[in-house]
Assembly symmetry: C2
Homo-oligomer: 557 residues x 2
């Protein structure tokens, strides 16, 4: 059949209705193109979970149709899932130099991804994959070498901005290719997928250059050692800090695994320029150096319990001690949910007697995502027929829709998607198809996707009220009797002061339950255990207002 009768499907498997684990699927007949494969950091209630990645069952089923995976930039929420996803798909990947460098760095921690499948992409040089012609265009963001993508498809051109802000004075001089967007807009764009993270924020974001100015002021003012914590991937901020350090005659020490990785990769690939060859010093040397000659770049801006800054703040870092009079610059704001951890770190630093520079005290951080006026600019330039907010929770998607409405778009021309939504596009129509399998895969320890809902529920309950184990042995033959126990073991559950009476009461409770059951001709394990669970549960709730997990362990001998 003639292609024109077919339609394009756009399926977000991650990054919609949520911030994190971005993954977009574009499907036209036998051609599938994927954009990004990120991770998300677990919600508090995902106890003990390390990472969350998108469920890619849908892609696994159609693996042989996937023509390639294109990466917008090197942030964890766009590349962090690749080490888990790519080995299952074995597909060619495309991205800019730094982005691929950071991906390879992730793989080097595991078995490397085959070179033959890795393709460096030049913005402005389209590549043909299946029925798509994919072209990257430069955007400005909080990491260098970030791009958005244009997909020229049989039904029309679709553009995805990727994460972006409109920074007119980017540190590396690589401007956002607004002209390109405008040109495509003239030709006609069918649909625009747009970063909606900051859709609730009025006005425009501030340029990274402003942060550089503020950093320089603080660095010039500092008397003791300077410790700056920021996101490892913010190469531009790191560059500006290093430049300022050089100008005031300070050496730079890079601490923290991810920070070391990024600085190494970015330097090797020429995205980070060291003003002096010998400006970097090893953390082992820090002890012997004069504080006023030193700038430490470190991870831990989010108060992560194991990060370098956190260990420094708690005086438990092997090489670097924070001293009274040192200056700690928190060049990042807490990601929602991290406020308490960050606050704790800051308080520890004050306790030591350090000066702590936070956002309240000057422009030491700016967002990497477009505010309302920048989003409007991009929509006006692209002039798309349809709008699809991406990279946002529903509050951000709805905020984006309000912006679209303000620019004259009807609600039905703006698709608010969910995970697995199938947006079907024809040249003149946008509609929702049947949802595909989508969701979250939890990564815990070494296993992938091995932690189910039940287990999490259990951990939650364990965390709340602990566990009470009842051990008792019953005779094999009639008359059934209790050979030993019931013994009670508790963990994470406390019997409070009137322990004895409570334990005695609990045992009586159990024995009463058993008595009835032991009369029967046949002992029914399930029934006995359920009854014990119920009667003891009721008893403990009345006495302690707590609901520990109750585990009856029965032996028959």
């Amino acid at each position: 059949m003639p292609k024109k009768t077919s339609k394009l499907s756009i399926i977000p498997l991650g990054g919609t209705g949520e911030i994190g684990k971005n993954l977009l699927v574009f499907e036209y007949e036998d051609s599938i193109v994927v954009i990004d494969g990120g991770v998300k950091f677990p919600e508090d209630e995902l106890l003990g979970i390390d990472l969350v990645i998108p469920d890619i069952s849908y892609l696994e089923k159609k693996r042989d149709r996937i023509k390639g995976l294109f990466i917008t930039h090197g942030h964890e929420d766009h590349i962090g899932g690749l080490p888990f996803i790519l080995p299952k798909l074995n597909i060619p990947i495309y991205g800019t130099k730094l982005t691929l460098g950071l991906v390879q760095a992730k793989f080097q921690e595991r078995t490397a991804y085959p070179e033959s499948l890795i393709h460096v992409l030049e913005p402005g040089k389209p590549v043909r994959v299946g029925d798509f012609e994919v072209e990257a265009f430069r955007v400005t963001h909080s990491i260098p070498d970030a791009v958005g993508y244009s997909l020229l498809t049989p039904v029309g051109r679709v553009v995805y901005t990727g994460d972006f802000k409109v920074d007119y004075t980017p540190i590396d001089g690589q401007n956002m290719e607004l002209g390109k967007l405008a040109a495509w807009g003239q030709e006609g764009i069918l649909a625009l997928l747009c970063d909606s993270t900051n859709a609730e924020r009025p006005g425009v974001t501030i340029s990274e250059m402003a942060v550089g100015k503020t950093l320089r002021e603080w660095i010039e003012r500092a008397e003791g050692k300077i410790i700056m914590a920021s996101f490892a991937s913010n190469v531009h901020r790191i560059q500006q800090a290093i430049n300022a350090a050089a100008d005031v005659g300070r050496k730079v020490c890079v601490v923290g695994r991810s920070m070391e990785n990024v600085v190494r990769t970015a330097t090797e690939l020429g995205y980070l320029r060291l003003p002096e060859d010998d400006i970097l010093v090893a953390s082992s040397e820090v002890g012997n150096m004069a504080p006023e000659k030193l700038l430490v770049l470190t991870t831990g801006s989010q108060g992560e319990p194991l990060a370098a800054l956190t260990r420094m703040a708690t005086q438990s870092h092997r090489q670097i001690n924070v001293l009274p009079g040192d200056m700690v610059i928190m060049a990042a704001t807490p990601i929602p949910g991290n406020e308490k951890l960050v606050n704790k770190t800051i308080n520890h630093l004050y306790q030591i007697g350090a000066e702590v520079v936070t956002k309240e005290m000057g422009q030491v951080h700016v967002s990497g995502h477009a505010n309302q006026e920048e989003i409007k600019l991009v929509i006006r330039l692209a002039r798309p027929r349809f709008l699809i907010p991406h990279h946002g929770e529903i509050r951000h998607q709805v905020g984006f829709r309000r912006i679209g409405n303000a620019l004259g778009y009807e609600d039905e021309d703006i698709a608010i998607t969910q995970l697995g939504s199938r947006v079907i596009l024809s040249p003149d129509r946008m509609e929702f198809g049947e949802r595909v399998e989508a969701g979250s895969v939890y990564i815990d320890g070494l296993g992938v996707g091995d932690v189910g809902y039940i287990v999490l529920k259990e951990r939650q309950q364990l965390a709340q009220d602990g566990v009470v184990i009842i051990v008792t042995a019953l005779s094999k033959t009639k008359p059934y009797r209790v050979l030993s126990g019931p013994d009670i073991i508790a963990r994470g559950f406390t019997f409070m002061k009137e322990a004895e009476t409570l334990v005695e009461g609990a045992k009586k409770e159990i024995l009463n339950t058993l008595e009835i059951q032991l009369q029967k001709d046949q002992l029914e394990w399930v029934v006995i255990k359920t009854n014990i669970r119920e009667s003891l549960g009721k008893y403990l709730w009345e006495k302690t207002r707590r609901r520990p997990i109750i585990l009856p362990v029965l032996l028959q001998l």
Copy 2:
């Protein structure tokens, strides 16, 4: 000996180095006066803890010297601990009418506190207790009837602001008594204890009146049902919402236990005036009412899992459903740590199709604590010899010290206290004495102070990796052999895909350990259990990178 040679001790048992559980002790010879007795809401790592209150061992030892407990205002972090603290001390308490009303409401949930010990206090009417003359003065805060205290002591006058902001246009017309503060300042104030919560925030706070204006605008604009969530204790905000509702012809439904309590108490005592006698409707009636005729006042502004708004947002509230087109006003900002929960509620509401009004969209909340310029004003008026920041974490206390420095105070004239610090004041000197016993008491379920560090550690580990229980029965007599098991039970710990092999491996591991032990003439429980824990722990860590709690359960039959 002549009094003048004695000294005054000021001891914070709560509310310093932290936000919450405020409790200040003033001690002069045989006279002790206490101010406030609050609770603090638990940190995330205090798994399953409901409340945290100050450790008052110090006061219990000196109970017969305590002349009275004075309360500044009715917020939880100032009165929430009283139902646990007062029964242990049985001392007279003093406070303004509304404050005591709220305290009694708390007690009515338990056994009431003896009327004979409760004294209503009039600002401006000093009371003599022991060696102190205590006088309340009005301050403006986010709850009516808030006061600070002046303590006239043998060594001089000490003033504690309590929680305050300088609101020149308070809703109830009860202005902050700045003149009083100035007059005392003229006479000479020895030390000022001052609210330092917002010491990092420049400028001044905005008047509660501004919130009223914004609320009215939204309430007039709304088409469907209006649901407003705020702190229950913010009587002024509730008053303004009710007034606006009355003006647009909406009835008001009050939902949520604490909200109902406060509205009842405040109305009874005349702090909340209902513009129409029949303006309140029961939540049972809401179902039959036209949405545009209704304003629901509810708890849940912090996304608390069990609060009314949270249940409405998840469509699980018995009487009140949120419908598309309803307007939900979040008239509060998240307390640090609650951001994620609040965000989740907001997203649920958008999912339903409600319009959600947050602080980003207009002045629907203001802080109740003084910013830098207000703190400066109070210091200038009081002109104290010494400064003691209270009600703040160390970052806020240090922020307050910066303000003090800016006004010409030396560091040594500003006391940065910790829990249990003893600040010793003589007419011309401020120094630190020996710290007294102080800290936190955890309240969990019905018990008080019954949850120890170990239990919390256990809960943490359970929450991370769960628990694995090993059950096995051994013979009583030699040759010792395994009669049953080892059986393995796991909760919150998952054996992943290769379950069987892992379980088998674990059993082998245990049997090997047992085998060695069973050779011995005497079975040593402790040794056996320890060995099982170690060998199995090692095995599971290697295979799964997790450390569940391992509980060997041995029976001998």
